[in-house]
């Protein structure tokens, strides 16, 4: 019994010993460079404590149930919208954000948070084509169009070596883009066209895969994927480290693609909103923002960051697309209830292969 009490006591001590200033960041794993954290800790004379989530839904569920203690969250735009609707966020005091001017205006004032009352962009990724440069060159396939994922004419050369994301939103968006519609198109007729397109291409795909395709690419089992730009960047780093004879490259489809912007927001019950604002302004500085891009190859909405970014990343058209393609990138909007039900029904139909 005394042992139990001693353990309990040590637990209590461990949780109450928070004399030092702490800043609680609820973030994606590996989504801030270690050197950036270190510099911020020196700057704010506080300790950065990170907790991780791996899905926006996880974050939403936890906060909706009433979890507290987080100062800053880094959700994707549509989750920001949901958090605003749920009254979970604290409006920003813009007078503290002198570096907001560094953000490219095309990423500000979006329909997800009009006037950026609650959120500022942190980093971005796109959903694009990833490929094994050796194999794809051998086969003479294009890498700048969704046709290579959807058109049997190309697919028959890479049958069984292609994976697409196991996500109805992402796959429908890619198909709609290929058909020339908006990724956010909600016309049921256009959705039917997308379903027909996907069904025709499905026999050529090896799998719907959203988790292990990085590894499959680096090992060389899979040659072509529909995947997230950060993942494909990671796959290439891994392939290089493993000394593979090929590279994993990114292809930006000329039809456009899905853009995901992650944003910094402050939770309404943040214990230290002052530190959160300080952190926000700190991350809006070009150098600090550039370090994440250099680490994981994320897109960067910060105009001041460009001069600190490694040249090989800067000239990658999938991470820093030219103006024409940039204009065709779209952020996914939330579907309404009936739309979601229809989408789910179609998705089941696709997966079941009827």
């Amino acid at each position: 019994m005394t042992r139990i009490l001693a353990l309990l006591a040590s637990l209590l001590v461990a949780t109450t010993a928070v004399a030092k200033d702490e800043f609680h960041l609820y973030n994606w794993n590996n989504y801030i460079a270690p050197e950036t954290i270190k510099r911020f800790e020196e700057f704010c004379k506080c300790e950065v404590v990170q907790t991780y989530y791996s899905d926006n839904e996880e974050l939403l569920a936890k906060l909706a149930a009433g979890a507290k203690g987080y100062d800053m969250l880094v959700p994707t735009s549509n989750a920001v919208q949901a958090l605003i609707k749920g009254g979970q966020l604290k409006p920003l005091d813009k007078s503290q954000l002198s570096n907001l001017k560094n953000i490219n205006p095309i990423y500000l004032d979006t329909p997800f948070d009009p006037g950026n009352k609650y959120s500022v962009p942190y980093a971005m990724s796109t959903t694009i084509i990833g490929y094994n440069d050796q194999k794809i060159k051998e086969l003479g396939l294009p890498t700048d169009t969704w046709a290579v994922i959807f058109d049997p004419k190309y697919l028959e050369k890479v049958k069984g070596r292609v994976t697409v994301l196991d996500s109805s939103n992402e796959l429908f968006a890619a198909a709609l883009k290929y058909l020339g519609y908006s990724a956010n198109d909600v016309d049921p007729k256009h959705w039917d066209e997308a379903v027909a397109l996907i069904k025709k291409a499905k026999p050529y795909w090896a799998a719907f895969n959203a988790s292990s395709y990085i590894k499959e690419l680096t090992v060389g089992n899979i040659w072509l994927v529909h995947g997230y730009s950060n993942d494909i960047f990671q796959a290439n780093l891994d392939a290089k480290a493993a000394g593979r004879p090929f590279q994993i490259l990114q292809g930006m489809p000329k039809e456009g693609a899905v853009l995901a912007v992650d944003n910094m927001v402050i939770h309404k019950d943040a214990p230290r909103p002052d530190l959160a604002l300080k952190f926000m302004n700190f991350m809006l500085e070009g150098k600090n923002s550039s370090e994440l891009t250099n680490l994981i190859g994320s897109g960067n909405p910060n105009m001041d960051a460009v001069k600190y970014i490694k040249p090989e990343i800067l000239k990658n058209p999938a991470i820093f697309p030219d103006k024409a393609v940039e204009a065709k990138l779209e952020q996914l909007k939330e579907l309404t209830g009936p739309q979601r039900r229809l989408r789910n029904k179609l998705w089941t139909e696709i997966k079941a292969g009827r």
């Binding site: 139990i4 353990l7 493993a242």
Partner: protein, 257 residues
């Protein structure tokens, strides 16, 4: 006769292989000299070195161990009491109350515990996780202990009472030693359930609280390195050590009779 023996051996070996081969592979690949860990490249101790310098992972492993120890200790005491009570007073309501947490889907339990803690204005942290783990482990201990009691010879306790032993003395010197294997089994089960729980822990953990499953899960997005194998291997070693110590301290503990 020989044929039957052979069949038995094959069946046993297949069974054990099914249980242990995956674990052996996990351990073997913790020595793999490849960040990707997709195929065998060469032997290295690098990942153990990385692990011992990875503050996040070590803190998470420490938290997991502390919570599992605490949860298994407390839930064993309470669960044993509950098991004895369920055996002695066979009321439907009591069984339902004790066993419900086993049947409730984890996600419901996680969310309701989170809402409960928020209602009480209880700061989420290691304590809330430990309390949640104790809550769902009690049922498992109780069920094992009750099963053990069901096989007990009732005349022994009656004899003890006849000889003038108080109810507490009877429990301490007759009942408890007899049900000890059940209690130990319950404690080990509670330990295992607690150390690898993800769903309930996810909901009840506060800002900055990490346990090993939470830490590993958040790494899946960016590819799992052999460091995860290394930390798993060490935990397996620790669990094995615990069982060996338990069986050395009291050889009869792990035997059924």
């Amino acid at each position: 006769m020989r044929k039957r023996r052979l069949g038995l051996w094959t069946a046993a070996l297949t069974g054990y292989a099914f249980l242990y081969v995956p674990l052996v592979i996990v351990i073997a690949y913790s020595f793999n000299n490849s960040r990707l860990n997709a195929e065998w490249v060469g032997f290295t101790l690098q990942w153990y070195d990385t692990l011992f310098h990875d503050q996040d992972m070590l803190v998470a492993a420490g938290n997991s161990l502390m919570i599992a120890l605490l949860a298994s200790l407390v839930s064993t005491v309470l669960g044993t009491a509950a098991g004895v009570a369920m055996y002695r007073y066979p009321s439907k309501l009591l069984s339902v109350l004790v066993l419900a947490p086993i049947a409730i889907p984890e996600i419901l339990m996680g969310v309701s515990l989170l809402i409960f803690f928020v209602l009480l204005n209880f700061t989420l942290g290691l304590v809330s996780v430990a309390l949640a783990h104790i809550a769902f482990c009690i049922g498992f201990v109780a069920i094992v202990v009750r099963a053990r009691l069901a096989g007990m010879d009732e005349t022994l306790t009656e004899a003890a009472r006849d000889c003038g032993a108080s109810p507490w003395k009877t429990f301490r010197y007759i009942t408890l030693p007899l049900i000890m294997p059940g209690v130990i089994a319950g404690a080990l089960m509670a330990f295992t359930l607690s150390i690898d729980d993800f769903v309930i822990t996810f909901f009840t953990a506060g800002a900055g609280t990490v346990t090993l499953p939470l830490q590993i899960y958040s790494m899946i997005k960016i590819a799992v390195t052999p460091e995860v194998n290394a930390v798993s291997s060490l935990l397996m070693l620790l669990t094995l050590a615990l069982i060996i110590i338990a069986s050395k301290v009291s050889p009869s503990l792990l035997r059924s009779e």
